[in-house]
Symmetry: C2
Subunit: 254 residues, 2 copies
């Protein structure tokens, strides 16, 4: 990866397991607390299913930019209706909507990001808004140098403006940045404006078995990794054991 | 500080000692390397002197928003002219301009922020652009949950939009945020849109002796502190010794 100076990351699916996290929150809150008996995995998938169409209106220009928290909430009202759940107060809807701020990372993510960060600055390049990514990071123990995309760019990936804005704000040429993502469409859009691309496979993002999309990297990807620890190995990042616990920096540096 | 949920920080002067840092870079690069014999403390002050007037054109609407790196570079060309320094290449000007990305923190800052961060999310609310604040943080060992203000808000403090944008992006009411700053004007502007305000005194920001501005907190400040360690004490943040070295979280938590 010659000339690579910083890493940017897709978040939903790439770093966090939104499906199991949302299903677990729905089970706890709507199932155990409110007494509804529903398929909570389906609930998570249907909620996520409204995600792209909602952003598409913004991308197409038929709606002004609104942050993802707003789209998630509008979509949540539809899902609650789809699943005949009609007893929530406004503040309960708000609480459930913020389940997207409380997603759990895949098991390799915290350790992998710690190693990657010892060598590269890391920025979130997500469609999630700052509050969402910030709250998620603090809860999950992720650590960002900068949160870009979303309401910072006021553009939704794969709009070129989302990637271009991130490079501009980091003060770097797109060619010195890589996007790390589990979705080839995201990588292709980043590549089209000059980013390097790194595919990380997440075989169970949409289903525990039988997921057919994004099982391998598109031909044009610069690198493909099994997970972030594998990526840290491939990018010759220090092992966790050599990182100084106080600063997270490489202990083997001068 | 009832209802306080997160801290935002002014950066130049409050967290980093721009005057000594810029003077030291100018001495090294223009003095020792290029052979110019000038008053480098004056050089730093004059460069900084062009800062407010340059932003004022943006605030007044007579110029579209441009990021601080751009204003700093335009101002640098003026200072170089003022000091009759005329032998730099374009890339040398760029290098010197990025001295603002390499400012050193005041001695209490890294330890103080580490303690504050164990209890509160921390966001930069600076006129500096993302790349500047991000590069400074990585070099100096600061750690931000989010970088706001500057080119994220596309507004320069003390424009109300800069503070309002930060609160909106953090998903918090202004009243649950405090601005920490060494400048009472900044605090007053933040208070005018509902922020809590915390004054931290920096008696030598502009001069080693005899500085008369901002030697004490304005009457309306919610809190005043001698430095960030003192602030961490006043906000009952954990002592550094109780913080877990791996996560920076409070070891005394469950």
């Amino acid at each position: 990866m010659e000339g690579l100076e910083a890493l940017t990351f897709d978040v939903f699916g790439t770093l966090v397991d939104w499906r199991h996290s949302i299903a677990a929150e729905a089970l706890r809150f709507l199932g155990e607390e409110k007494g509804y008996d529903r398929d909570w995995n389906a609930f998570a998938l249907v909620w996520r299913g409204y995600y792209q169409p909602a952003m598409e209106r913004v991308r197409a220009g038929s709606r002004d930019f609104v942050k993802l928290d707003v789209l998630h909430r509008e979509n949540l009202l539809k899902v609650l209706d789809d699943f005949s759940i009609d007893t929530l107060t406004e503040s309960e809807v708000d609480h459930l909507n913020h389940a997207w701020h409380r997603l759990d990372p895949w098991p390799d993510v915290v350790a992998g990001m710690t190693r990657l960060r010892a060598r590269y600055p890391l920025a979130a390049l997500s469609n999630g808004n700052v509050a969402l990514i910030m709250n998620m990071a603090r809860r999950a123990g992720l650590s960002w140098e900068a949160i870009l995309g979303g309401d910072v760019a006021r553009a939704y990936k794969p709009m070129p403006a989302a990637y271009v804005s991130a490079a501009d704000m980091m003060g770097l040429e797109p060619s010195s940045l890589a996007l790390v993502a589990a979705h080839n469409d995201d990588l292709k859009a980043a590549a089209s404006v000059g980013f390097k691309t790194i595919f990380v496979v997440r075989r169970t993002e949409y289903a525990d078995v039988g997921q057919i999309t994004d099982q391998e990297a598109w031909d044009g990807a610069d690198l493909a990794a099994e997970n972030l620890e594998d990526l840290a190995d491939q990018l010759n990042c220090p092992q966790a054991a050599t990182l100084r616990p106080d600063t997270g920096r490489d202990n083997t540096e001068a």
